[in-house]
């Protein structure tokens, strides 16, 4: 019987994979629902004997089975998009059935946990440190050092919390990891538990990912006996972006408003319910089982670039021809990512801007596309790699609108705890609206005789408003408690600096307001 492999990833299902699978079953084929290879422009992708056909529709079923389909992409593993990757975190992507324990074990599953149990907590932490793994949630904090802190923290009760509140637009690696390889995440958490002495884990998962919720719950039930005495539970969020911030997430997990906590105390010492807690991103924990296999740490470390060790699952999103998941050992340039691997824009128009790192990441101009993917290099360029999302925009994008959206998003999602973020974002939207309108007339307050310092003879032009925006961004950047308010200025200011013509008819005004941009 012909074995047909079709992904049951949410994206493939949204593209009609379920109906396609049913059609192949009706033709007498054995259908295996696997994880997704990550080539999203080809989903739903049908695989028969290693050969791929996509994007497949119901009309293609007969032709595929007769070997006459014009949608063949050849052997999937040899496809340049796959062959040029270094897949460690996503080593099972496309190859296994997500909820099959048999498939998981056959591909090296649980080996990391078994070895971790043999070598003991201090050796586990040493190996994670040696691997150079840094938090994949965005901040890039060394995972081994975090574990070390929790391991040494006193207290009988400790927790492992997985941050699966992947709210950044342009990112979907967590979703794919949880849906495609849920046991690896659970194994990673069990290893973390072994390392720091925690027997309870929580996966805080956003409500926008129904498929991931279902799969992880099913996976936890299946492997309950394997991970015991470690216990783990899925907790579903309620639609608050800010809960991706670790302290806000902990408050939410406790059943409180998802407001950010001031640090210190670090969650590593006083986290969930005040107990020492490891909070790690899905991708960090997902990388752990491999690191803990024999020689895995060394292999992981060797895959890196500069001080960014290991691999980064990069997500190619937005207006890109070949979007999907691209895991690579850092160091790759944006030009390679967007133009070579991504094939340029989906619309066929020129690339105007690329936002790296989600809604809080800077917009990068094609002139800077030689920048290498690395935590330190991006920080030096006033940008961030964040969770590794790369969102491409074509030349129809209006950068003033995108800057305004960044502020609007921040105002909608602000937790309200600190003033620069809560009020600054609202003011930011207003200022950008005024810049769009080319400034504004004098208002009643300014004309009042008591207001000695206001200009009486003219209104405020766009240049004045741009000066004010710059000032506001400075305040938000340095005055906010967490990254939401603190990083919203990145997209706003990068858009303003590089596309001043989208903000005002007279870009000279921007140069005057931003002396450093003129250099």
């Amino acid at each position: 019987m012909t074995i047909v492999r079709i992904s049951d990833d949410a994206l493939a299902r949204a593209g009609g994979a379920d109906k396609l699978a049913a059609a192949f079953e009706k033709k007498g084929c054995e259908v295996h629902r696997t994880s997704s290879w990550g080539m999203h422009w080809l989903e739903p992708l049908v695989e028969i004997d290693g050969e791929g056909f996509g994007p497949a529709t119901l009309d293609d079923v007969d032709a595929i089975l007769d070997g006459k389909s014009d949608k063949s992409i050849g052997t999937i593993e040899d496809h340049p998009f796959i062959a040029t990757q270094t897949r460690i975190t996503f080593k099972r992507a496309g190859k296994t059935r997500p909820l099959s324990l048999e498939d998981y074990e056959a591909t090296g599953g649980w080996a990391g946990l078994k070895r971790a149990r043999q070598i003991g907590s201090e050796a586990i932490v040493e190996e994670v440190k040696h691997s150079g793994l840094r938090g994949r949630g965005g901040a890039g904090f060394p995972t081994g050092i975090k574990w070390d802190t929790v391991m040494k923290a006193p207290g009988p009760q400790k927790y492992i919390v997985c941050n699966a509140d992947e709210g950044d637009s342009g990112t979907f690696a967590d979703r794919m990891a949880m849906e495609g390889d849920p046991f690896a995440l659970i194994e990673g958490m069990a290893i973390a538990g072994e390392a720091v002495g925690a027997n309870q884990g929580y996966i805080y998962l956003r409500s926008e990912y129904p498929d991931a919720i279902r799969k992880l719950n099913a996976a936890l039930e299946l492997c309950e006996d394997i991970i015991t005495p470690f216990k783990c539970e899925v907790r579903v969020g309620a639609g608050a972006y800010v809960c991706g911030e670790e302290t806000s997430l902990l408050n939410s997990l406790e059943g409180k408003r998802g407001e950010v906590r001031a640090k210190p105390p670090l969650p590593a010492l006083e986290g969930f319910l005040g107990k020492p807690t490891v909070v790690n991103n899905v991708l960090s924990l997902q990388a752990v089982p491999h690191i803990l296999t024999e020689g895995g740490a060394e292999q992981y470390k060797n895959a890196g670039f500069g001080r960014s060790r290991g691999t980064m699952p990069i997500q190619l999103a937005g207006n890109i021809k070949h979007g999907g998941l691209y895991e690579v050992g850092f160091g790759i340039t944006l030009d390679d990512l967007v133009n070579k691997i991504g094939g340029g824009t989906a619309s066929g128009r020129p690339v105007k801007a690329v936002q790296v790192g989600g809604p809080l990441g800077a917009y990068i101009h094609p002139d800077q596309f030689d920048i290498e993917f690395d935590y330190e290099t991006y920080t030096a360029a006033e940008a961030l790699i964040g969770h590794g999302g790369v969102t491409v925009f074509d030349d129809s994008a209006d950068m003033l609108e995108m800057a305004r959206f960044a502020m609007e998003f921040c105002s909608v999602e602000s937790c309200g705890k600190c003033t620069p973020c809560r009020i600054g974002a609202v003011r930011g939207v207003e200022i950008l609206d005024r810049i769009k309108a080319g400034g504004r007339e004098r208002d009643v307050i300014e004309l009042a005789p008591q207001m000695h310092n206001t200009k009486k003879d003219s209104g405020r032009d766009a240049g004045d408003e741009i000066g004010l925006l710059t000032d506001l961004c400075e305040t938000m950047k340095f005055g906010s408690l967490c990254a939401l308010g603190g990083f919203t200025p990145y997209p706003v200011m990068s858009a303003l600096r590089q596309w001043p013509e989208d903000f005002t008819r007279n870009p000279e005004l921007v140069k005057q307001a931003l002396p450093e941009a003129a250099e």
Partner: protein, 142 residues
């Protein structure tokens, strides 16, 4: 006891043993009643030995919880950056026009389908690569 307080009692009992039981309870209440109203807040507060202010504080923080149930079908449309880059703003007017008063169009920020937007969600079903015709059909069938 009213039907509602019975149901709430059941939901509270389901999650009472958990560490931090409030969000799981609220998620279930929202799912089963379509809202978390003041009466539910009071009952949950009593069941968990919290103040009503505590519960209301949490309820009012999260976008998913509604004060009043809305019987209309909901289509959630992603309007975050990646879907904007793929043209959601050019089709959203069509969706709103097709929805009229009958269907509720909600904005969400990111469904994790960023390489194949514009994306939308109805119930637990996801939809990708929407164009004007696609989103109109989706709204009409909601």
């Amino acid at each position: 006891m009213s039907e509602k307080s019975e149901l709430l009692g059941e939901i509270i009992a389901r999650h009472h043993h958990r560490e931090g039981p409030l969000l799981p309870i609220l998620n279930d209440v929202q799912a089963e009643l379509g809202c978390v109203d003041a009466e539910s807040e009071a009952l949950i507060a009593k069941g968990l030995n919290l103040s009503r202010a505590d519960v209301h504080g949490t309820v009012s923080f999260y976008h998913d919880y509604k004060i009043k149930a809305d019987p209309r079908p909901v289509v959630q449309v992603c309007r975050a950056e990646a879907c904007k880059a793929r043209g959601v703003e050019r089709i959203i007017d069509k969706a709103t026009a097709a929805a009229g008063e009958r269907v509720k169009i909600e904005t969400v920020y990111c469904l994790g389908l960023c390489s194949a937007g514009p994306a939308a969600r109805t119930g637990d079903d996801l939809h990708i690569r929407l164009d004007e015709a696609g989103i109109t059909k989706l709204v009409e069938n909601a």
